[in-house]
Symmetry: D2
Subunit: 346 residues, 4 copies
């Protein structure tokens, strides 16, 4: 399936934003030192410091799975356990990369809305000091979550507080961090730095970049020597200026934020357009750029002949519809009409 | 150091070829299915099949270290050993990625010209069947080598023959495979497929791409299930069309070959321009796009104030000068003049 | 806590059976080739072949965790997943050894009685062929289970049948395999070989040995080259005759079976002795050498001042009482009396 | 080959010392808490503290490879490199366990007498801070060495001093540490603690035990949390009292030292008995319990029909003859006679 004009399958299917592409083209002049020792990468680092705080340590990465698994490996020992919601990307969609790269056990918590609740954490501490049990060391949360929900700053603070009181780190998988920041309408620092996140996987690829991810150590001492971990785990690109250019474009004039706001608005428009349709139930709060809904199987099948999207839970006829920075009002409205049409026919 | 107009440090410092950049721009239209299920990636696979044989299995990758470590992991068990020349990139310049990703022992062979000789291999077989010893399973050669030399097809065949007679695989690190093919003036199939290579790391990044590497299984059964190994090792990019576009540009009208021929010609021009200078000794045959030379330390230091390049062996005052697809005749001639000037002053 | 005369904490707390100790002493004469190339180890292998079938491949190991993690590593690739009951020792009590040694993801299934039911397996196959998901490759069952229950041969056959129809292996964690065989009153071959188990961790340590475990490949081709996996994973002992001697003692005159029958009988006696006590609920079928029961917290605390045992589930006041080959009728009867006394006082 | 009355193949072929066996028997009474929480293990820890210093942290292990690989894993990160002599057991005879368990690169140094010289270390520091290179973190020396030589305390101090000045740890593989201490005639503390060793693999198996190894952290903070590393790496035995009993026997009345002195004396007797034989060259200083010698191939072959021993270097007709605690004067004298006879006949 290519060039489907109306994919609601994934924000990964979107093209690169034209200003990102232009930035790549703009840096394509002459030689530049490889492996990140170039002015563009320096500029990217400054952008991150401006957004997250002047002390953060930033490392550019190639994939979201790479950012997650590699950062987690750097802050753990093999006998540690990493705790996440059962819905976490690192549990479900990384083909065992966290286990292989960290050697740690993954422990998951039930999470109907993909969010860990602070009261789920204390029971995990019972294994502390018992040599037969992998020792919890990191709590990883996803922001925005895999179900399109968003942690409020207070919720993150509560988790961070428990974590830090119990010798745990707080990792945030920010594959869609821009959508979360846009949703909460607060700064990245307010959402991440001031809430107590220790390490962040910052994703730009789903927000208009080509392939641009980063690991941000909010607690900079945790990032010491991470250059070796990145290299050993095959995430160090030689011509780094082309990754940096993508970030620089997105961080110029808040393009990252505009992109995310637009994607979120399109999801909201979609949700509002279908909320009153009989036989459709929106199953999660629409807080970022995803709509989860249940509808009759026959309607799903009819729709999938026109539109690309995932059935999230077969047993339940639940689907996931993603919007992206380039989804248009017209796309959404046509899709709403198609949904109505499909549901009415069944 | 940025935009040094005259870097002879690395072909990694070069910009992206304009036709590669154009190709990236050309595919930036509308949605495309992520993770390689798109028409551009299909086209890339067809190019590889045309060049290496219709049965090969091809997987696009993000870094050269990723291509090496991941392909080696796929064809070994942890108790195996991987044999290479002592000069190999995977031994020296991958921060232990092969050990971490494969769990194997690396065994190196002395190689003054960076090439393994077939007669070095039989003694390694003495550990066969002895449970205390890591069991050799792969011989890895680099083509062109880290010292700019090139294996002749007959040499590869001899190594492959020994390997296959002894239950070993032959891996080729082709980070600069185009330069080798250009140097030998034979087809990729003649150099790789017909000589008995089992697995190839195919590099395009040093030859005008932005970030485009591939693993090619010449013996396709070896590549079965490699999609999981790639994903688990964090080398699966979501928006793969942009990697494929780079390959497609390079494979169109033999751009890859023209680029490599030009880089090689520039190295040859450089070598010829300095071969008669007193106090300079060219230390390796100039068979691809590198010139290794010894010259007085004072001359090195003077030159490095103008030009970026690496001292390869401090103990020896040996330097490495790399050319790339975009090195011009004028660049080379000016560099020759600067070298002469630097040497004469000491 | 030492030499507690009446531990019901674990069959690991028991001393070594006197005939096992005698056997160790008996082989302590003169030199013997190290690393298993000795007559005693050959004899052990013959015992295993007599019990499980002449084609099995057997490797002596040092710990139960070593037998589990190492055998699983040998039959998997890192991108595989290993499926077990949520109660499995390898999930809960091996400090992440399976993850570190195999690099695989562990997937657990709900199991109130610690037994996997065949109908739980088909949904796991939905991830097959999806490159983002770790691929299920092994189902591991424990026999007897961590909750003292026992799979019937027909149950194992059903699981094996599904496994083999779906390109999965069936692993059995037999840390207490003797107790299971004694419970079912069938031969080891009937319970393991003929039911379709592919790989077995055979434990003798909990059944009267000092430290004697084994990996048995029922499907011998799976065990090819396991000698290297054992050595690389640090489970090859040099003076192997002393491990072999333990097995040989246990396999002589069915000592292994007598030990297990006795331990099981003691658990049954204990269960029968307490089943009518008010305020005590036996929570699992008593099918091997463990009794799980709920009783008032005050009674637990009183009992623990006299006897060593584990509280299994704090939230529930559920305890585990283990018997062993050396538990006497008097031990049990005194313990029953103590329990009655403790419960009546609350 | 079994019960060869006259093996000179390995100190691993020797039986268990009768006092060690008696000690195992003596602790075989009643229940004891498993996993090391017993009085015998506490006693063992006290012995180690008495010998090495009151602050050391001690962990009992099951194999020498386990002690080496696991302790090295605990004090390194995967991107580190471990430096040893090219002759080191961990490089040659552990089937890649160090690579698998630590994920580190192994770097070896030429060592004709199996000893690292301090002046070999500074060049390794050139890779410091270069992200493409595995970063040296540990120097591992073997005492006594694989070639029977012994580091003098001053030599160890020099290596330790360089190590500590350069943020490296010093690990000692003490598989035959007793032979070294006996050879130098100094205390273990003088040889290990006061020379600056950070971590020690202490071997007892080759010195009269059945299977008893330990990791000793001389710098105790390095040993923090090692209980998890031991468990995850499958080296935690359940019935630990039987390992502790072995150590306790060896540490009582200096049995460990008497055993080692005797083995050393037998090697010296052997060396003196053959040093004047024509056609035999002793190739290494005989400083512990090994004699390395070159002799005619025909003589080797004749001898091997009567005696078990290893040809160390085929290319060179160099053999290794090991003595052990139980080698008798008569054994040695008969062996000397056999050697003379074999050599004279050729």
């Amino acid at each position: 399936m290519n060039h489907s004009p109306k994919s609601f399958a994934s924000d990964n299917n979107a093209p690169v934003h034209k200003r990102v592409l232009q930035a790549i083209s703009d840096v394509n002049q002459g030689d530049a030192t490889s492996y990140g020792d170039d002015v563009y990468t320096l500029e990217t680092e400054q952008h991150f410091k401006a957004l997250f705080g002047k002390d953060v340590k930033v490392f550019l990465m190639l994939t979201g799975t790479g950012a997650n698994a590699t950062s987690l490996a750097h802050i753990t020992q093999p006998y540690h356990a990493i705790v996440s919601a059962e819905t976490a990307h690192l549990e479900n969609d990384e083909c065992g990369a966290p286990e292989k790269i960290t050697s740690c056990k993954l422990i998951t918590l039930p999470a109907p809305d993909a969010k860990i609740r602070p009261e789920q954490l204390p029971p995990l501490m019972e294994s502390r000091g018992f040599q037969h049990h992998a020792q919890p060391k990191v709590v990883s949360i996803t922001q925005s979550t895999e179900l399109g929900t968003v942690y409020k700053p207070g919720e993150i603070k509560q988790i961070a507080s428990f974590a830090h009181d119990n010798d745990l780190y707080l990792h945030m998988d920010g594959a869609r961090i821009a959508n979360a920041a846009a949703s909460l309408d607060i700064s990245l620092a307010e959402m991440v730095t001031y809430t107590g996140v220790d390490v962040l996987s910052f994703g730009a690829t789903k927000n208009g970049a080509m392939a641009a991810e980063a690991v941000v150590f909010l607690e900079p001492s945790l990032g010491q020597h991470f250059e070796y971990t990145r290299k050993q785990n095959m995430q160090l690109t030689s011509k780094m200026r082309y990754v940096s250019a993508q970030f620089n474009a997105l961080f110029t004039n808040d393009l990252w934020l505009h992109n995310a706001r637009h994607a979120n608005a399109m999801a909201k428009r979609l949700a509002e357009g279908i909320q009153d349709i009989n036989n459709i139930t929106i199953t999660q709060p629409v807080e970022s750029n995803a709509v989860f809904a249940r509808l009759p199987l026959a309607a799903i099948e009819k729709l999938q002949r026109q539109y690309s999207f995932y059935v999230w839970d077969k047993s339940n006829n639940e689907v996931r519809w993603m919007t992206a920075y380039h989804t248009t009002i017209q796309d959404v409205d046509e899709f709403i009409a198609a949904i109505k049409d499909a549901v009415q026919q069944v």
